[in-house]
């Protein structure tokens, strides 16, 4: 840990002059951290407290006069109106499918691009591109030039092999969203898993080969266990980001067909329904859901973060 290194250097204690310097250093360090700390406190933590406050208010922008404290009524309304539960299900399903699929494709690409492929650098560059592309642009391109019933390339390909045309965003809204998210997050997973593959000890792999383990057995017995922590990091970060997903929903399905995620529901209630109180309650639910999902993954991964970051 970094702290121990520092204390070692400023070791000889009890000397008052030294102690004074030490205390001065401690204050300097705190002073350096403060601007970032305060900035984040003001722009993220305090607004969240406000959100909790809003969620306990009867506050509809259409009826400003009726504004007032209502306790947990918004949460009760959210539970009984039948909007909340399907939205939680949609959020969790979209996140789970997208994370698992992008992990699988990411692993496939990581393994293939870890090999000695001609033009490997170019291939890697091409594969990371979908993650860099603006999600709004990616969703639009998929919507109109891939999924479109008439001119979409997917249906063109289906037609080539004699399959019937599919109206993706209306017939399979969930699949539409998951496909685009998987496409966007596969590079993310690939990068993390590729770093894992490259950190694998060559000796172990050679030893396995000498012992006569086949490629498949080496992969399942040595490589996969080694990749475990990378899979965990990918799962944690991927889930936390995809849980908040908004852009592909807004552009591909507008929340129809069981794809109304919490972020989209909040947007709809607050900015179309103008019900600030109820929308704030969805915001709080989003945080709770994120904490649940993150703690499940974080338990194991925070250790990894700390180990990876320490001196």
């Amino acid at each position: 840990m970094a702290t121990s290194t520092a204390t070692k250097i400023e070791a000889p204690p009890v000397d008052p002059a030294r102690k004074k310097i030490q205390r001065k250093h401690a204050w300097t360090a705190r002073g350096l951290l403060m601007p970032a700390f305060i900035f984040l406190l003001v722009l993220t933590q305090i607004p969240f407290l406000f959100t909790i406050g809003f969620s306990m208010m009867n506050w509809n922008l259409l009826y400003p006069a009726e504004r007032g404290f209502t306790g947990l009524d918004n949460y009760k309304a959210a539970l009984t109106s039948g909007a909340l539960w399907p939205s939680i299900v949609a959020t969790v399903l979209i996140t789970a499918f997208s994370v698992v699929l992008s992990l699988l494709f990411g692993l496939l690409f990581a393994v293939l691009l870890d090999r000695n492929l001609p033009g490997r650098a170019i291939a890697r560059t091409l594969v990371i591109t979908p993650f860099l592309i603006m999600p709004a642009a990616a969703s639009l391109i998929w919507k109109y030039s891939m999924f479109d019933t008439n001119i979409g390339m997917l249906n063109w390909a289906f037609d080539l092999v004699g399959l019937p045309k599919v109206s993706w965003s209306t017939e399979h809204p969930m699949a539409t969203v998951v496909i685009v998210l998987t496409w966007m997050f596969t590079p993310f997973m690939m990068l993390i898993l590729l770093a894992g593959l490259q950190g694998q000890s060559k000796e172990t792999l050679e030893a396995a080969q000498v012992d006569g383990a086949g490629a498949w057995r080496t992969f399942t017995w040595i490589t996969l266990p080694h990749l475990r922590m990378y899979v965990e990091i990918g799962t944690l970060l991927g889930s936390v980001i995809i849980l908040q997903v908004f852009d592909p929903i807004a552009i591909l399905t507008k929340g129809t067909g069981g794809t109304k995620t919490l972020a989209y529901l909040l947007y709809e209630r607050a900015f179309i329904g103008l019900n600030v109180g109820e929308a704030a309650a969805y915001g709080v639910v989003t945080v709770i859901l994120t904490i649940i999902v993150a703690t499940i993954a974080l338990k194991t991964t925070f250790k990894v973060f700390m180990a990876g970051g320490s001196r």
């Binding site: 951290l33 492929l117 592309i133 709004a136 642009a137 993390i192 909040l266 947007y267 994120t290």
Partner: protein, 271 residues
């Protein structure tokens, strides 16, 4: 089957898979240069006489102004992030405060805080203060989203600075400012650059807050692209051209930062 043949088969299959995966991007790029009738045709064409018509229409719709707003918001957010993150990362690595773990947890918690949890008060406060539709306000909000990831990433680079060098500077009596600017920064510059690029990428691509917090004056590129959703008639060539313009800066930035990308995305956990 001999190993060489097997290897070549896998190589060919890999490249095939890579090209299929990249195809939507390639297709977007190609469609941007097609005349509208060809782009929206049910018979896709690979070869055609390229035209800049799509780009012309996109620019005629005022896209340059949206791109400019995007640049202003993203660059301001990036500079702000770097300026706040360098001292913070330093205080979490080379001159560590007492509770490093606690501070790191705080930063990571703000990164994991869903935008949904903070957007309503921010919107309401800005609306009351007249801060909506202001590009600098949007930049400040983007800073708050990206600051944590920048701090974490920079810290992981700062930790790699050989401590002997820092110690030598301190023995020589270099002040704090000198120590950071003259000694530490030159060593971690690639890391700072990578963190800045990641901050830029996330700011540039942001859609949700841009849609809600801006309208006419400060509108950025993502919501402008989003306005194509309800388009009528044929517009695929224009959309593709506009999308190409919109993604180009970030693709270039990402390709440059490729080697450091994984470190930034995993907040320094994976190198």
């Amino acid at each position: 089957m001999s190993t060489t043949v097997k290897n070549s088969v896998i190589n060919v299959l890999t490249w095939l898979l890579v090209l299929v995966f990249f195809f939507p991007v390639f297709w977007m790029f190609l469609n941007g240069f097609k005349p509208e009738s060809l782009a929206s045709s049910i018979h896709p064409k690979l070869f055609f006489t390229p035209t800049l018509n799509g780009y012309q229409v996109a620019l005629d719709r005022g896209m340059a102004a949206y791109l400019q707003n995007s640049f202003m918001a993203s660059i301001a957010a990036t500079i702000g992030c770097v300026v706040l993150a360098i001292p913070a990362a330093y205080a979490l690595s080379l001159r560590p405060i007492k509770n490093v773990e606690g501070s790191l947890s705080f930063f990571i918690s703000t990164r994991f805080m869903p935008v949904a949890a903070i957007v309503l008060p921010i919107y309401m406060i800005l609306k009351n203060l007249g801060g909506l539709d202001n590009i600098w306000v949007l930049a400040a909000v983007y800073m708050s989203i990206n600051l944590a990831i920048t701090v974490w990433m920079m810290r992981s680079f700062f930790l790699e600075v050989p401590f002997e060098i820092v110690e030598a500077a301190r023995v020589d009596g270099a002040g704090l400012f000198r120590e950071i600017v003259r000694v530490v920064l030159p060593i971690v510059l690639p890391g700072v650059a990578a963190a800045a690029l990641i901050c830029f990428i996330f700011s540039w691509n942001e859609y949700f807050l841009a849609t809600l917090l801006t309208s006419n004056v400060a509108r950025t590129t993502p919501p402008f692209l989003g306005s194509f959703v309800d388009g009528r008639g044929q517009f695929l060539a224009v959309l593709s051209a506009a999308a190409t313009l919109a993604v180009l800066p970030v693709i270039v930035a990402g390709w440059i930062a490729q080697k450091q990308l994984v470190r930034g995305l995993s907040m320094g956990a994976v190198k």
